[in-house]
Symmetry: C2
Subunit: 178 residues, 2 copies
């Protein structure tokens, strides 16, 4: 394990709305050089597993153009700046997307969403004893329906393949495995 793939060049291909795309030149351990894709997600994100006092989990349903379908997900969103603490992001996104709040926060897990070609990270927080204190406060590009579900029902939705969003699967299962 002394030698590993090493980046020897990088070309910017595209500056996007949320990601930047690069073509990297990677020198392999055997000396050969290949072009690899690198998708930079500078902002990173936070995600919340919101648990009510009676143990239900608050989920959001929204349309995802990248998949051409509605998905059921944990509340989540990007950081507002490159220096924002993801706990701040998590509190904001929970409030905006669901109207729920709490003072009972705990870091659950940290995720790298797809390590082969992207550096996007998502910090996932557990928010216990959430209560609804206001309405949603959505961004103009958000159209989000919220609902409470039992952990057992969500677990079956995941094992049956009807919930597939990776941060949601990782967050709920990490909560259930505690």
């Amino acid at each position: 394990m002394d030698k590993h793939p090493e980046r020897i060049g990088r070309k910017l291909i595209y500056t996007g709305a949320v990601v930047n795309v690069y073509q990297d030149q990677i020198k392999l351990a055997d000396g050969r050089v290949e072009n690899w894709d690198f998708v930079e997600h500078p902002m990173g994100a936070a995600c919340v597993v919101p648990i009510t006092e009676d143990g239900q989990i608050i989920m959001v349903r929204q349309y995802r153009p990248a998949l051409d379908r509605y998905t059921l997900e944990l509340p989540a969103g990007k950081r507002d700046s490159l220096t924002e603490d993801t706990l701040i992001t998590a509190k904001r996104e929970l409030g905006e997307e669901t109207g729920y709040t709490t003072d009972n926060w705990q870091k659950l897990i940290s995720l790298k969403t797809t390590v082969a070609f992207c550096n996007e990270f998502i910090d996932v927080y557990l928010a216990r004893d959430v209560v609804r204190t206001k309405g949603q406060d959505l961004d103009p590009d958000e159209d989000i329906e919220i609902k409470e579900y039992s952990p057992d029902w969500l677990r079956e939705e995941i094992y049956s393949g009807r919930i597939q969003d990776a941060k949601t699967v990782a967050g709920i299962m990490s909560y259930l495995a505690m």
Copy 2:
């Protein structure tokens, strides 16, 4: 929820080694139009939670240029073709990356790695009673170290934030929550 973000245009930006990048025009529910990034991962992938007869989990350690670090991950890899059954992919990748095999396979979960801008999917399989029958058979761009770990140790590595790869967190926690 009658109206949702709708794609009204798509421009190909980049044809990469594993992903293609598009700039989409998305019409929001309120009528405004925005440019969104779309990263297409046509191939998809499979991942394996390999369990030995005494309950240890086989993990792979490798260098990830996208993160500039070594990661501890479940064995995984891309499909060989757009029509390959991911169970075939899973069996091949387990054999090539670790040299372990088994006849005891079960579908565990399906993942979409990052739904806001990418369509990559990973099917995760549980492989029980794996035994080492041969050496690794790595691709030239792979330099992979394999080792067995206890589920309890891996759980703590995840909760402490030292294991962050999303497919690995989702796969191990989904196994532990069964």
